[in-house]
């Protein structure tokens, strides 16, 4: 049954073309994900620090970091003395 079911995506591939935009989006996300996770290997960082390390603008850095936190790759660290900026770190599984 499981083998039979695993065929359904192949059937759709014959008739449904994945757009270049979708492929590019995946490539870009993987690149962004890798650069943020690489930067976090150096230790806890704020969004501003991550942005500087990866070259992404801060808004995009926040979006990707929060998405990575949602899916269990990143954890929240500590907040600064002014209670303004949090640090983020790699989530240990």
């Amino acid at each position: 049954m499981a083998t039979e079911k695993s065929m359904t995506v192949k059937i759709l591939r014959e008739t449904h073309k994945v757009s270049d935009e979708v492929k590019d989006n995946l490539k870009q996300f993987n690149k962004d994900k890798k650069s943020i996770l690489e930067a976090l290997k150096e230790g806890e960082q704020t969004i501003a620090q991550l942005s500087k390390a990866t070259g992404m603008d801060r808004a995009k850095t926040l979006y990707i970091t929060m998405s990575l936190a949602k899916f269990g790759f990143v954890a929240v660290g500590k907040v600064d003395d002014m209670d303004e900026y949090f640090t983020y770190k790699l989530k240990t599984k």
Partner: protein
């Protein structure tokens, strides 16, 4: 390829699975009538299920909505079609309507999905999460949101790379990429329009700097930031992840302004802004919250006391109409406004701005009815044939209207209106 429509028969068709549609369906079902609820999105619950808390009681919205939605979903007399569109409704005679409905494929067998989220974990794609209003990403194989109903995964086929990872890991094997849209012909005796309202899109007003200014968000986005199932771990500015400490609310963004195509008051914005201000003061005790308003309309039971409570908590209220919002290099925003008390133009700097967006009519139901015209009023809401004595009656005999489809309403008024519509529908069914 489906050649013939699947024929089904129900007593009542409820168009829209929000809180008003759900309430109307429940009332009908509890009286023994078979009801079909047709919802265009992946979950019932409408806008209410996405809210943080409700005014003026500050009850958790999810805690109120979830049991209600669960009751609707499990009721033996109610069938729900999510991810479905009504193509047409024809009235063939009294107590005789035929609706043509298409159920879009979810690519997941609803009955078999256990919501284990393994497909979500395996999916490599990230796109903006529409249920979090774009603040965070979601997968292409995903559970819409944690309290959705039905709690079943869906495949966003437009963003899917067809890698098959979800299908490989699905324990019950319920992902099926061969699913096709299903077409139905539904015979019903009555229909209730509960299509709700649309939120005003502030990107159409350049002076609000929505989208250009990254720290200008809508009140619905703030609802998500305040909700327990929030996109971030706390309230953060989208531009740089800073915890905001000087937040402004701009009331009547897209309401009471003919130039924006919406001359009327949206009725809910004052109160939800006051509610959010109170919640923000709880979440960020050091933050300054300022509400720029034209008039505060706290008209319901306990609303004025709720407003007074916000004032006593330290929420600053400025009677002033916002002219322009400009973004500074550090992401802060300068609000240029007319201070009504002095008649002078002033400027104020904030680090986060919330646009209290108004309600706009959903004009969709008009186009559904083919043989008879479902009339709209001059504001494009569903016209009530007798707004004072029979507010649930439309211009088509046997078709009733519930909730914000007739105009902006808060939650208690939507529920009341749904009760009225279901009572009228039962009366029509028995006539």
């Amino acid at each position: 390829m489906q050649t013939e429509r699947i024929k089904l028969t129900y007593d009542a068709l409820v168009i829209g699975g929000g809180i008003a549609g759900g309430e109307a369906a429940l009332n009908l079902a509890n009286n023994g009538y078979k009801v079909l609820v047709v919802e265009k999105s992946l979950s019932v619950g409408g806008k209410m299920i996405m809210l943080s808390k409700v005014f003026p009681t500050l009850d958790c919205s999810a805690c109120i909505t979830t049991p209600k939605v669960s009751e609707i979903s499990r009721h033996p007399n109610i069938k729900i079609f999510t991810e479905s569109d009504i193509e047409s409704i024809e009235k063939l005679g009294e107590h005789n309507f035929v609706a043509k409905v298409t159920r879009r494929p979810r690519y997941v067998v609803e009955e078999d999905c256990t919501a284990c989220q393994l497909c979500e974990e395996a999916c490599p794609v990230i796109v903006k999460d529409q249920f979090q209003y774009g603040l965070v990403g979601r997968k292409a194989a995903y559970i819409p949101f944690s309290i959705c109903s039905p709690k079943v995964a869906a495949i966003d086929i437009d963003n899917c790379t067809l890698c098959g990872a979800c299908e490989k890991v699905c324990p019950p094997g319920c992902i099926d990429f061969t699913m096709k849209a299903k077409q139905y012909e539904i015979s019903v005796k009555t229909a209730i329009v509960a299509t709700g309202f649309e939120l005003f899109d502030p990107s159409t007003v350049k002076r609000y700097s929505y989208q250009e200014g990254k720290n200008v968000i809508t009140s619905m986005q703030m609802e998500r930031l305040l909700a327990p199932t929030r996109p971030f771990h706390t309230i953060l500015r989208p531009s740089d992840g800073k915890v905001p400490d000087k937040i402004a609310y701009v009331l009547c963004a897209g309401s009471r302004d003919d130039s924006m195509g919406n001359p009327i008051c949206s009725q809910i914005c004052c109160m939800y802004s006051i509610k959010q201000a109170q919640l923000l003061m709880g979440a960020l005790p050091m933050a300054d919250i300022t509400i720029y308003y034209i008039d505060i309309r706290a008209f319901g039971k306990g609303y004025d006391e709720f407003y007074e409570q916000a004032v006593s908590m330290g929420v600053r209220l400025v009677k002033g109409k916002i002219g322009k919002i400009s973004e500074k290099e550090n992401g802060n925003l300068v609000l240029r406004y007319e201070d009504v008390s002095t008649g002078k133009l002033k400027e104020a700097e904030h680090d986060f701005v919330v646009l209290s967006v108004g309600a706009k009519p959903n004009e969709e139901p008009q186009s559904l009815f083919k043989t008879q015209k479902l009339e709209l009023d001059n504001l494009k809401y569903v016209k009530q044939s007798d707004p004072l004595l029979s507010p649930a009656k439309t211009t088509i005999e046997g078709v009733f209207v519930a909730g914000a489809a007739t105009g902006p309403k808060d939650i208690p008024d939507s529920i009341l209106s749904a009760g009225c519509a279901s009572t009228e529908a039962i009366s029509y069914l028995n006539s």
